[in-house]
Structure formats: C-alpha cells, structure tokens
C-alpha cells in the first residue's frame, strides 16, 4: 500500500490523516470539558501553587481536559506542518523496546494479566477520569504509532480497519457495562434496587423510541457514507491459483481460529473448537442456573458466569483475532507492531511430541513401530503402545476430571445442575481450557502433540 512511496511521500500521506485525527481528539476532549462544566460536574483535583504569588490555581477535571484538548491541537499543528522532523511520533527506542518485548508468550500473558488487573481493580478503572485518561492514551498511542511505516501498513490495510474499531468499541462498551455494574453492585449491597429499576415508568413508543431509532439510522447512514468515501474497498490482483500470498489469511473474524492452528491441528481448530463455541454459546441459558442478574448490569451476583464468558470472549476470541490479524506475518511468524514483515525471518521450531519425549528422552529407546506389512489391528496396537501416555492423559482429562470437579470445587453446582447438565458444562469448560493449557505446554516444554497419530490424522 505504501510501497513505492519515498519516506517523505509516506509522511505526507500519514500527515493528511493525522492532523484531522488529532483535531477530532481535541474536539472530543473539549466537548467532554464543556459537558462537565455545563452539567455542574466540575471537580477540583488539587491546587497548583503559583510560584512567587502565594496564590494557587485549582486544577479541576474541566481544566485537565481543556489542557488535553490544547495538547491535541498542538499535535495536530505539528502533524500538519510540512517539516517532517516535527512529526510527533513514538520514540524509536520505545518502538525497539516494544518490538523486543513482544512475542506470542508476552502478548498472551500480557493481555491475560491486563484483563485480570482491570477486573480486580475495576472500581478504580471505571472512575470516569481514569477511564477517560486511558481512552486518551490509547488514541494517542495509535496516533503516535501511525508514523511508523510497518505499523501503518498493518493498521491502515482497509480490511484491518474494522479491527481497530472493534477494539475501541469494545473498550468503550466494556467500560460502560462495568461502570454500571459497579454502581449497581454498590446499590444492591446497600439494599437499594439497581439503576435500571429507577426507570420503570412507561412511555409511549411514538415518539420516544421511534425518534431514537430514526436518529440512530440517520447517524449510522452518515457514518457509513463517510467511511465509504474515506476508505476505498480493497481489490487486489485477479485470483491466481499458483501465486500463494504469504501469509494467507482467512477473513479477520476467523483469525482467532486460524491462530489456534499454531497449537492444534485443523480438525480441532477448524471444526471441533468452533462447533464447541457455537454449542457452548447456545447452552449458556440452560447451564446458568443462577436466577439473579436478569435485566440489569451486575458482576457480583454472577461472578462465575461473568468470568467464564469474559475469558472466552475477550481473551480467547478477541485478543486472538487481534494477534492473528495484526501481529502474524509471513509463515505465520510473530512480528512486533513496528517490525517489518520479513518473509525470510526464521523461527527455530524444535517442538517434540509427548511420545517422543517419553520413549526417546526418558527411556532412551526408539519409538515402538509395527513390523512392516503387519495387519491393521497390529498396527493399531503398536500405535496405542507408542501413544499410551498421551491417550491416558487426554482421557483422564475429559473423563476422570469432571467427576472430580463435581466432588470438589463444583460440588454445589453439581447438586444444583444434575448429572447431564453438569457433565456438559464440565466438558465445555475443559475443552475451552484445553487451548490455554496447550499454549502453556508449548511455551514451557515445547510440546507439539500430546497424542500424535499422523497415520490417522489424529493429532491432539
């Protein structure tokens, strides 16, 4: 997309996007300040003493967002300036550091830890001032990074633009939902009804709802037209069955599944796990026997289902999509956000199967193999012998673990749910957990397959 542009032309191109971008951010902060001021929500955070005068200036949230707006106006001015060296961008040393630090392990652990921290300290993070600061920093990070060619290549690829929108929208709505859940949980602790209960009064659909819908439709149409004019739909070279692009990627909404191919064979990542996701989603209302938290935002009253769902949705679906789309390059190698997609990057792959480890490394023998020309039952017997440890582990995981769960941590659930429902839930949970477990095994002991039966395409 930016091939064939000189550096100066590239910066020009980015600048034509960046200065309006910063202006929008400035407006956003300005509007926020205005809103807080006009609705009387101004809060003084601290007082800044003016040196030499003995007086002090109160710094309130309104002042802070006005300052932020001014800051963005300045950034817009620098970005729009024709002098390239003034272009605000992420310092090279930071880019280097981020590239160095990032990798599949760091990324997955980082997002997991991040989400856990957000969850545990949600009371702090949902405070409007904190959330707004984070929101500004996210957008600033995006703006400063855009001047890097490799970053720009990936983010501004027309079909990747939706991912950026998805991440921003999800951040916003997750904040909104958590914010309301925190308030509701506090209210209900005090014995008050949730916020939703306060709006119990009935209104006529015409005009209250019909007009809201109309305004939504107009706004959305305007937005779509703007998007369509600003960003042409991609059309690459005509299809050719001989020229394989590297990387070849599925559409972005399936890239979480494609990312799973790193850890699982296609029959798992492409068939069993997606089917599990669909069945698991459909089963939610029948498995969640908790009658509380119906019709209002809450976390406290349904912690278990909340955590499971958020782990599945935010961590295993969304972050894997982001990883697969933005950070996986040629040969599905991992590339940092500011790293060039080099098709010749080699990554040492020294993964071993459990059976290889067991027979070769532990016992110092060669793998059991059926004599040449033996019949099918003999072959299967030898395969069973070769893979017995993995088979035992996997069967134990799916068959022995659910009853143990029912007798220990999930005792109360088992009693409430009965045998069939509990077994379904336990197996869905275990299937879901199999992905992170395999990830960790891969990272820590370079495990390739627990069960490796390539003879029957049965690798697990």
């Amino acid at each position: 997309m930016t091939h064939g542009l000189t550096d100066a032309q590239f910066i020009d191109k980015v600048a034509s996007f960046l200065w309006p971008y910063y202006i929008v951010l400035a407006l956003m902060n300005g509007v926020a300040a205005l809103y807080l001021w006009r609705t009387g929500q101004m809060k003084t955070w601290f007082s800044l003493p003016v040196p030499g005068s003995g007086k002090s200036v109160p710094i309130s949230n309104v002042v802070a967002w006005v300052v932020a707006a001014v800051g963005f106006v300045l950034l817009a001015a620098f970005a729009g300036n024709s002098n390239v060296s003034w272009m605000p961008s992420m310092p090279l040393s930071w880019q280097e550091a981020i590239n160095q630090a990032s990798g599949p392990v760091m990324y997955s652990l980082g997002t997991t830890v991040g989400l856990i921290v957000l969850f545990i300290f949600r009371r702090f993070f949902v405070t409007p001032a904190i959330a707004w600061t984070i929101w500004n920093l996210m957008l600033l990070f995006l703006g400063l990074s855009m001047t890097d060619r490799d970053f720009f290549e990936i983010i501004a690829k027309p079909d990747n633009v939706p991912i950026v929108m998805l991440v921003l929208l999800l951040s916003f709505f997750t904040w909104l939902a958590t914010y309301r859940a925190v308030i509701n949980d506090d209210r209900m602790d005090r014995g008050e009804p949730p916020l939703e209960k306060l709006d119990n009064e009935k209104v006529l659909v015409w005009p209250d709802l019909v007009y809201t819908e109309l305004i939504c439709m107009i706004a959305l149409t305007a937005f779509l037209i703007f998007w369509a004019i600003a960003l042409p739909a991609p059309l690459e070279e005509p299809a050719s069955s001989v020229k394989t692009p590297n990387p070849s990627k599925a559409p972005w909404y399936f890239l979480g599944l494609q990312e799973m191919l790193v850890y699982f064979d296609p029959w798992m990542a492409g068939i069993v796990l997606p089917v599990t996701v669909v069945i698991g989603l459909m089963a939610i209302p029948y498995l969640d026997f908790n009658r509380e938290g119906n019709g209002y935002y809450t976390i406290k009253q349904r912690k278990f289902s909340y955590i499971v769902f958020q782990f599945g949705f935010l961590e295993m679906w969304i972050t894997l999509i982001v990883l697969g789309t933005l950070l996986r390059g040629p040969n599905w190698n991992f590339f940092g956000p500011y790293e060039q997609w080099d098709a010749h990057k080699v990554e040492a792959l020294a993964n071993v199967n459990l059976s290889e480890w067991f027979w070769r490394d532990l016992l110092g023998k060669s793998l059991p193999t059926a004599p040449a020309g033996s019949n099918l039952p003999t072959q299967i017997g030898f395969i069973g012998l070769r893979e017995w440890l993995g088979i035992a582990l996997v069967l134990g995981y799916f068959i022995a673990l659910p009853p143990i769960m029912a007798l220990t941590v999930f005792r109360r659930y088992y009693q409430k749910m009965g045998f069939i429902r509990f077994m379904l839930m336990a197996n869905l949970l275990l299937l879901m957990a199999s992905l992170p477990i395999k990830m960790v095994l891969r990272w820590v002991v370079q495990l390739k397959y627990l069960i490796a039966i390539p003879e029957f395409f049965l690798n697990f």
Partner: protein
C-alpha cells in the same frame, strides 16, 4: 383556505394509507403504532429503561438496520455483477473505475464488517445484562444462529470479488473442512468409512468438496457462494429475524429488573 399540508392530509389517497390523524396526541400516538405495518413490530408503550441507550446500546437495532442496508446495496450490486470466473473480477473493477455511484461497493463491504462487529456487541450486551435468562433462553439460541449466519454471510461474500485476497481467504477457511472428523479426507476417522477396501471419503467426496463444489476454489465454488450469499442465507436470516423479534415481544419485551 386550508394549507397544502392540510389538503394532502384530508385527501382520500392519504387517508387510505394512514388511517388516523397525525400522531400528535396520546390517542393517535397509540393508534399509529397499532395500524402501521412497519411500526407494529413495536409495542405501544415501553418501560423507559428498555429504550435507554446506556442499557441496550441500540446494538440489536443497529445490526438490523445494517442488514437492511446490506440488502438494498446488495441488490444494487447484483445489477452490476456476474458470478463467473470470466466476469467477476472485471465487473468489480468496473464498479470501481467506471460506474457512477462509486461508493456502492464500499458501503456494502464496510456495512458487512460493521454488522459483524455490532452483532458481537449485541451479544455482549445481552450477556452482560443477563437477558438470556428465563424466559428468554430460546431467543438467545435464535440469536446464536443469527450470529452464525451473519458470519457465513460475510464469509461467502468475501469470495465474490474474485481477487487474490478473496480466493486465498476462502481457501484457507475452507481447508478446515478437509480435516473434518470422519467427513474430511484428511480428518481423523475417515479411514473407517471404507467399503470393501474403497475409500468413501476422498478429496472428491468429502465435506470440503460439498462446500466448494470442486476440489479447489473455482467456478463451482463461486456459483455456490453466490447463491448462498444472495439467496439462501439472507432468507434464513430473514426468517430467524422474524422469530427473534416476535420472541422479544412474546417474552415480555426488553428485559429489565423484576
């Protein structure tokens, strides 16, 4: 002298369409909801929190609107597009370079991406407000099917421009079907489906072949995906949407605290 507006509203034509005066008073605001075909999807009155943007995020409605946008722009695109290997790419190129209304394809494509995002957000909201709990369990299931069909709509449409991006994305995606347990020719267990030493599941009879209509993504695949994309899946979505909306009403309207 009656004004023009009044003359129109007093005319027989107008009155034959709208069977009541302007909805400016309570009575007629109720009547309009009951007599207008498009509005009768809604109830007449509703709890305030059920229409609060901070509660529903309007995401179900936005998804539905995007589906309508896709339908209209999709029909228009069909005028300009022939689903054959010979013409598909050239027709899309023409849409870009020659025809006026140059943003038709853009609106359709970005609308499709947006629909995937909003349907996820809608599901997210329904989960977070616990709205799948009784009595709305079944509507959640209908919703999951709608989610699946939305993704399939997007996936089948991705192939139609017939460029490198399209063909290889579909190749990568549909390669998974090759590994379908039992039904894919490289899937575990396919050897079991052997009759008298003859393999039943080969690359010309497996799940992937059924999806593509051929061994590779080709002419047959384009035809298959085109029909799925323009006819079969939209009909499925329309049917499920009717059920979905019907059930929202029958399950007692938008959820809320008891």
């Amino acid at each position: 002298m009656p004004g023009l507006g009044e003359t129109i509203r007093e005319s027989q034509i107008w009155k034959s369409i709208f069977r009541h005066p302007m909805p400016v008073d309570r009575r007629n605001r109720i009547v309009v909801m009951l007599t207008n075909f498009f509005l009768h999807l809604h109830p007449v009155s509703i709890k305030k929190q059920g229409i609060a943007l901070s509660y529903t995020w309007c995401m179900g409605g936005v998804t539905f609107f995007l589906f309508l946008v896709e339908t209209v722009t999709g029909v228009l695109l069909m005028f300009y597009y022939r689903p054959t290997v010979e013409w598909a790419y050239a027709d899309i190129q023409m849409l870009r370079d020659v025809h006026s209304l140059g943003i038709l394809r853009e609106i359709h494509r970005w609308g499709a991406h947006a629909m995937v995002i909003t349907v996820w957000l809608h599901m997210y909201r329904v989960f977070l407000t616990g709205s799948y709990k009784p009595p709305r369990e079944f509507n959640w299931v209908v919703g999951v099917l709608l989610l699946l069909l939305t993704l399939l709509l997007s996936f089948t449409g991705y192939l139609l421009p017939w460029d490198q991006l399209a063909v290889w994305a579909i190749t990568v995606g549909s390669n998974m079907a090759r590994a379908h347990p039992f039904l894919g020719h490289e899937g575990p267990g396919q050897q079991l489906l052997t009759v008298g030493g003859v393999d039943m599941i080969t690359n010309a009879s497996d799940a992937r072949f059924a999806l593509l209509g051929a061994r590779e993504v080709g002419e047959e695949t384009l035809n298959r995906f085109y029909i799925l994309h323009c006819i079969a899946i939209p009909l499925g979505v329309a049917l499920l949407l009717a059920i979905h909306f019907w059930r929202v009403r029958k399950d007692g309207g938008i959820s809320g605290p008891l």
